[in-house]
């Protein structure tokens, strides 16, 4: 099974149905899978903080969700994590495609990427960098279970090692 099908199967196994997102090239196979499967309830948000707000509301009303975004989208959500997710103890599942590293051509992406792990660490939010299809299922499945059991958020960072990175970036770098 490829990484994205495997990832979605784990979300399903854990009853994670609502998928709020702002797209990224690297997320395309995940988002295609979500829209193709009517188990999932996709919510196309206009901003990543909005996506996390909707996921939080859904969780409190009994529906589990995950928010998908790219690295620069994560940079928009610091206040939402600090004032909603962490203090209200919302097990927000965040799926972040890692841009800005290993072949990035966009300097803005590479700079904002450096703020991601320090922000997660400062807020004490567990995060796991997913690099291969062999270890990914165990990490994701067990961490989602831990998030709901302990009512704490978790971030999964999709490394280019797992996803192959941004195809557009590779094309640009060849030039």
């Amino acid at each position: 099974m490829n990484w994205s099908d495997s990832f979605l199967a784990i979300l399903k196994d854990n009853d994670v149905r609502l998928i709020s997102y702002v797209p990224d090239n690297v997320l395309t196979p995940l988002l295609k899978g979500v829209t193709a499967d009517n188990y999932f309830l996709p919510v196309g948000a206009t901003r990543e903080d909005e996506a996390i707000g909707t996921l939080s509301g859904a969780y409190m009303a009994g529906l589990r969700g995950a928010a998908m975004m790219q690295t620069s989208g994560f940079a928009l959500v610091g206040n939402t994590l600090a004032s909603l997710v962490v203090p209200y103890q919302i097990p927000a599942i965040m799926v972040i495609s890692e841009r800005g590293t290993m072949g990035e051509f966009n300097i803005g992406q590479s700079l904002v990427a450096r703020t991601m792990r320090p922000t997660l660490d400062a807020l004490g939010i567990a995060h796991h960098t997913l690099t291969d299809t062999a270890t990914m299922p165990f990490i994701v499945d067990s961490s989602i279970k831990q998030a709901f059991a302990t009512q704490a958020p978790v971030a999964f960072i999709l490394s280019p090692l797992l996803t192959g990175g941004n195809p557009a970036a590779h094309a640009k770098l060849k030039v």
Partner: protein
Amino acid sequence: MSSKRPLTKTMSRTALTRTLVQKLKRDEAVIGGIGNTNFDLFAAGHRPQNFYMLGSMGLACPIALGVALAQPDRGVIALEGDGSILMGLGCLATIANLKPRNLTIIIWDNALYQITGKQPTATSAATDIVAVARGVGIATSEWVRDEAHFEKLIDRRFDEGGPALLAVKIDDAPGQGQTPRDPALIRNRFMKGLGAARAGALDA
């Protein structure tokens, strides 16, 4: 659609929040936005289906959307200030496209960031929230003319007829209550009020 703001009476958020809360008969979920909005919701009398936002300015509508999607048979009402909705107008477009029939949004428009020192917001001049809402696709959006009109508009089932947006011109008074500053407790009680809490011996 007219770009001119209709003539509406300037009303009281404290009084109208009370009117709303007294009208609710079907355990509707109510999400109170940052500051004065949730202070007045709390002042109107706590109910188990109330959620109070102690931060995350601008997210009352996205949170309410999540509740509405998770429990499509429950009416859900988002209360939000004009400054707060202006921070994230995009959520109105998201809501317009998802069309949750059980979601109603009420905007308390004092044309101010009241709580931070009464600085003017964009609605004090060119911006009309109802026109914005209609423009992004929330067709059922209107200005509330006066208290009687408000009562008439909320005299309905909230689990259908949405998404709808009501904008209310209000005065510059602060909120009257003081919501307990305990996010974990608020979350826990809200989940219990929605029947979504984990079962536990402590609830016995």
